[in-house]
């Protein structure tokens, strides 16, 4: 009899596990399905090739090119600036202080920064901008996004570099390279796929984030023509259009969400592919 109960318990638990797993997969599929089904009907060439015309937010002509371009500017700028700090930090962290207590503290700080909510970055960025007398602008948005992306990128790159076979730097040292030369010429080449993945990961996070650019980049119907003019972004385009009472405008929020999803998932998939593709050139 007791065998029956134990086996029954095993089966019940397995069933619950399978159901939980299926539920998570179901949610993923449901989200993708909802966004595609709702966004596709009003997705048109005009949506992605025009800026909002007069009366756009009442349901008239126009598109969200301002938000697409704005988001690309913001995320690209943020990623480049984050890269400028994250890459040297991750590299030198491993070359100069790989296992020290100080390195532990740096990593802890990065992990903590990673966990800070983006709305807090937004509030912080806004505070600094007021202090400097800036208005909501492309530059403000870029810098705030750079703050948000920096820990993600630095930590991801750090992990990539740490997984490097220890023999490789040693071989370079044996050839008489200095630390710095080892870092930039030998190590970099080996970890290129990992670096690209890390940068794309941060870019994806940046382009999808709304809370940090809400205060700092502002919103405008024009395509920004200078670093100091405000910039629209896709997440905010979704948010604002969904907030209007007009069904036509809400429709466009759905298709803006679809465009955003396509971009982000495209980045996620291509980083996976890129890592796989470039990986062939490194030593295992």
């Amino acid at each position: 009899m007791r065998w029956k109960w134990q086996q029954l318990e095993e089966k019940i638990v397995q069933l619950f596990m399978l159901l939980s797993f299926a539920l998570i997969l179901f949610c993923l599929l449901l989200i993708l399905y909802t966004i595609v089904a709702k966004g596709l009907p009003s997705l048109s060439w005009a949506m992605i090739s025009q800026t909002p015309k007069g009366g756009f937010y009442l349901g008239k002509e126009g598109g969200i090119l301002n938000a697409i371009i704005g988001s690309l500017y913001l995320a690209l700028g943020g990623t480049l600036i984050a890269l400028l700090f994250a890459f040297p930090l991750a590299l030198l962290l491993n070359i100069y202080l790989s296992q020290s207590l100080w390195a532990d503290l740096v990593r802890l700080s990065l992990d903590i920064l990673w966990g800070i909510p983006s709305i807090v970055y937004g509030a912080f960025g806004f505070t600094v901008m007021i202090f400097l007398g800036w208005r909501a602008s492309l530059l403000g948005g870029i810098l705030t996004l750079a703050l948000l992306e920096f820990p993600i990128m630095a930590r991801a790159m750090d992990e990539v570099i740490r997984r490097l076979p220890p023999d490789l730097p040693r071989a370079a040292y044996a050839l008489g390279s200095t630390n710095l030369e080892t870092a930039f010429f030998v190590v970099t080449r080996q970890i290129l796929p990992g670096l690209a993945t890390a940068a794309l990961l941060a870019f994806g996070r940046g382009i999808g984030d709304a809370a940090s650019v809400l205060f700092t980049a502002g919103y405008t119907d024009r395509i920004p023509n200078s670093l100091f003019s405000p910039a629209a972004s896709l997440p905010l385009a979704v948010f604002f259009q969904l907030g209007t009472p007009f069904p036509e405008v809400q429709q466009r929020a759905y298709s803006a969400a679809l465009i955003l999803t396509i971009i982000v998932l495209g980045i996620s998939l291509s980083s996976r592919w890129l890592a796989h593709y470039l990986d062939r050139f490194s030593i295992h």
Partner: protein, 309 residues
């Protein structure tokens, strides 16, 4: 001698790097300091007790009680955890203990995909699917029990509620909890499982008595990390939670979490005295809650994940 040039450069960079590597720590402190300084006007003019435990929110009259927002944040987060934790832990156990390495390699990218979806897209999904579902199905179904369980009372006719926010948040934090809990489970030595199986234990008995006790710290840390993610999540929650500054009494009531407060009011914050300081205080409160949870879980996870190597 060119070699000495090169070595000199090397030493110079090494020295400069000490300062450079302090950047993350400095940045964290700077954020904390900036929010602290900007919150001073309100922290100095109002007693902490009325700020934290007062429920009157009338910025025009200079009354700032954060309790509705703090309780809104906690309600939504707790509901999200109640939904997400069992599902995520069971999923992580399933992946780690019952599927082959090949299946695991197929499933990891799907979790990454789920984690990559932007917050605002979750929000749209919540508005389109979850809010109507709560309004039309869950509220009538569970509301019947309202007289027995007050947290199920339905007085809010819309679906924009704590529950809608909690469900959307649960889906958002799921990939985090699953992948970290999975990683923790992978550090448990195979030999431990074998030791239990060799005694004729079933797989589930092995998990229950050998694997979970050994992994408990790490699993707990993964949940805490998910919790801190949930606390700070802004846009998706803001879009489905109703944003009414009240202390929720039921999961069907609307709530107004701290991040939503900050995001919704930035436009007016300069026009009302002390309003900007109040919003900065909200950011500071949020940051404080997140930091405490984060530091605990990061340190615990470090300890757990490092033991493996």
């Amino acid at each position: 001698m060119p070699a000495s040039h090169r070595s000199k450069l090397d030493r110079w960079v090494q020295r400069g790097f000490w300062i450079f590597s302090a950047l993350p720590t400095l940045l964290a402190l700077l954020i904390l300091a900036a929010l602290w300084i900007k919150s001073q006007p309100i922290l100095l003019s109002h007693p902490l007790k009325t700020l934290l435990f007062g429920s009157a929110w009338k910025p025009q009259k200079g009354e700032f009680g954060f309790l509705p927002f703090i309780s809104g944040t906690i309600w939504v987060t707790v509901v999200a955890l109640v939904i997400a934790v069992p599902i995520c832990i069971l999923t992580a156990l399933y992946l780690s203990e019952y599927t082959s390495a090949r299946t695991q390699r197929l499933i990891k990218p799907l979790l990454d995909l789920l984690a990559a979806i932007p917050s605002v897209v979750y929000g749209v999904w919540g508005v389109l699917i979850i809010v109507p579902w709560v309004q039309n199905s869950l509220a009538p179904l569970l509301g019947r029990w309202g007289s027995i369980l007050p947290i199920l009372t339905t007085t809010n006719p819309t679906g924009y509620s704590v529950l809608a926010g909690g469900i959307v948040l649960a889906v958002m934090i799921a990939p985090f909890i699953v992948s970290i809990a999975y990683e923790v489970l992978q550090t448990i030595p195979f030999g431990l499982r074998q030791a239990s199986l060799a005694l004729g234990a079933t797989r589930w008995q092995t998990i229950k008595y050998a694997v979970i006790p050994k992994a408990s710290t790490g699993i707990f840390a993964s949940i805490v990390l998910g919790c801190s993610r949930a606390l700070g999540e802004t846009m998706a929650v803001l879009m489905v939670v109703g944003n009414v500054p009240q202390i929720p009494r039921s999961i069907f009531d609307a709530a107004y979490p701290l991040p939503a407060l900050i995001a919704n009011n930035y436009g007016e914050m300069m026009s009302i005295p002390l309003y900007d300081a109040a919003l900065m205080t909200a950011s500071l409160l949020l940051l404080g809650m997140v930091l405490v949870l984060n530091i605990f879980s990061i340190l615990a996870l470090r300890h757990v994940l490092r033991e493996k190597t």
